[in-house]
């Protein structure tokens, strides 16, 4: 069983990690950096303003970047029968989704935290604020990954699923944004702790919601 889950995790990582021939796309990261780059052009070269609002902008960019990979998180594998074959081998939908959340986070969270470094340079954020952003992203991106995989499973069989998935993610991610970006203004650990708490709740829900969505998709 654990050997099977490890094999699935490795395959998921191969699908989602940026780069490589069959690897995932760099697009979410480039999109994230593009937003960070555009923001100073839009508000003008006012360094104090950029430094004050830049952390929040990084969070908005991270949230929007999380929308991009949604349509390939679950739908292709559902269409090609992978989830069916796993179910026949006694691997529950919940386990497959939990592994997928982990793989999605590994391919999305840490690269995003790395990309936050050049983004903070573009926005003129100082080291202390960058540290809060980095901790906040570490606490918040697992929750974003959980929301992303859940929504991807829920919308996998819908025709305009990709567009709907983006719309669904935004309101669900608001609590993460409020506390994650809020930690910047209070400068405290409490915001990051609350972000982590929300992430944990989302991580606990995601396998069950996603698993139920996959079973419902089979009946449809």
């Amino acid at each position: 069983m654990s050997r099977a889950l490890l094999a699935i995790l490795l395959r998921d990582l191969r699908l989602f990690l940026p780069g490589g021939k069959s690897g995932g796309s760099l697009l979410p990261l480039l999109f994230f950096l593009a937003v960070a780059m555009l923001y100073p052009f839009a508000v003008g070269p006012d360094a104090p303003l950029l430094a004050r609002t830049g952390g929040g902008m990084i969070w908005v960019a991270a949230l929007l970047a999380a929308i991009l990979p949604l349509d390939r998180l679950v739908a292709p594998d559902l269409e090609q029968g992978f989830f069916d074959q796993w179910a026949l081998r006694g691997i529950s939908e919940e386990a497959a989704i939990a592994v997928r959340v982990l793989a999605h986070w590994l391919s999305f969270g840490p690269p995003l935290m790395l990309a936050a470094v050049p983004a903070s340079a573009l926005l003129g954020i100082d080291g202390a604020a960058l540290e809060v952003v980095a901790w906040g992203l570490l606490a918040g991106t697992p929750g974003l990954a959980a929301i992303g995989v859940t929504i991807a499973a829920l919308t996998a069989t819908l025709r305009s699923g990709a567009a709907l998935a983006g719309l669904l993610l935004v309101p669900l991610a608001v609590p993460l944004l409020v506390f994650g970006a809020g930690a910047l203004s209070t400068g405290g650990e409490s915001g990051i702790a609350l972000t982590a708490a929300i992430s944990l709740v989302l991580l606990a829900i995601a396998p069950f919601a996603g698993g139920a969505a996959i079973r419902a998709a089979r009946e449809g």
Binding site: R3, A7, S22, E79, G81, D84, Q85, A87, I91, E219
Partner: protein, 192 residues
């Protein structure tokens, strides 16, 4: 191979608002085989998925003993990967199999990405996955689709070997399928 069994009693299947068939019962013991026959849309694939446990029957029960292997139109192989690594993924889950690639005519295709394979080659690749799974219950949904005559004969041979080895075969097909001792179920007789 452990003693396997597949029993379905009084199955009814509903798709949308329509009940496709009702009152269908099957009882298969080791070595048993049955062909589900009927026109398109009569519910052959739905019945296969119900027997596999992937869909709930509208009414009735299914009891299975033994692992289920499903072969349908979706090979569940990564399109971008070479065939060899796509199959290796399933070997990692099912345990390394004594591969029958040569027998299935896949020996020369292992370096070819799955997306370049033809329909018949995909079907043979999916058969390799099924063989590697070593499941007792084989559920084959249109196993002959896209296969040339020699490959079709090979599938019939493999199914016969599987039954002779104490396995169970359920074959949904609108084409004739030669298998000794195979029962036949006309789904039209159970139409609701």
């Amino acid at each position: 191979m452990q003693a396997c069994q597949l029993t379905a009693s009084e199955i009814a299947c509903r798709r949308g608002d329509r009940v496709l068939f009702r009152g269908l019962s099957l009882d298969l013991r080791p070595g048993g085989a049955v062909r589900l026959a009927g026109a398109n849309g009569i519910g052959k694939s739905s019945l296969i998925r119900i027997l596999a446990g992937l869909m709930r029957p509208f009414s009735g029960t299914v009891a299975r003993r033994g692992a289920v292997g499903l072969l349908d139109e979706r090979p569940a192989l990564d399109e971008l990967q070479p065939l060899g690594s796509a199959l290796a993924f399933w070997q990692g889950i099912d345990g390394a199999a004594d591969n029958e690639f040569a027998r299935l005519g896949l020996g020369e295709l292992l370096d070819v990405p799955v997306r370049y394979l033809s329909t018949g080659q995909r079907k043979r690749a999916a058969l390799a996955r099924l063989l590697g799974q070593r499941a007792e219950l084989w559920l084959l949904d249109e196993p002959l689709n896209g296969l040339d005559t020699s490959a079709a004969a090979l599938v019939e041979t493999l199914a016969a070997e599987h039954c002779a080895g104490g396995g169970i075969c359920v074959i949904a097909s609108h084409q004739p399928f030669a298998l000794p001792g195979m029962a036949q179920v006309e789904l039209a007789e159970y139409r609701a």
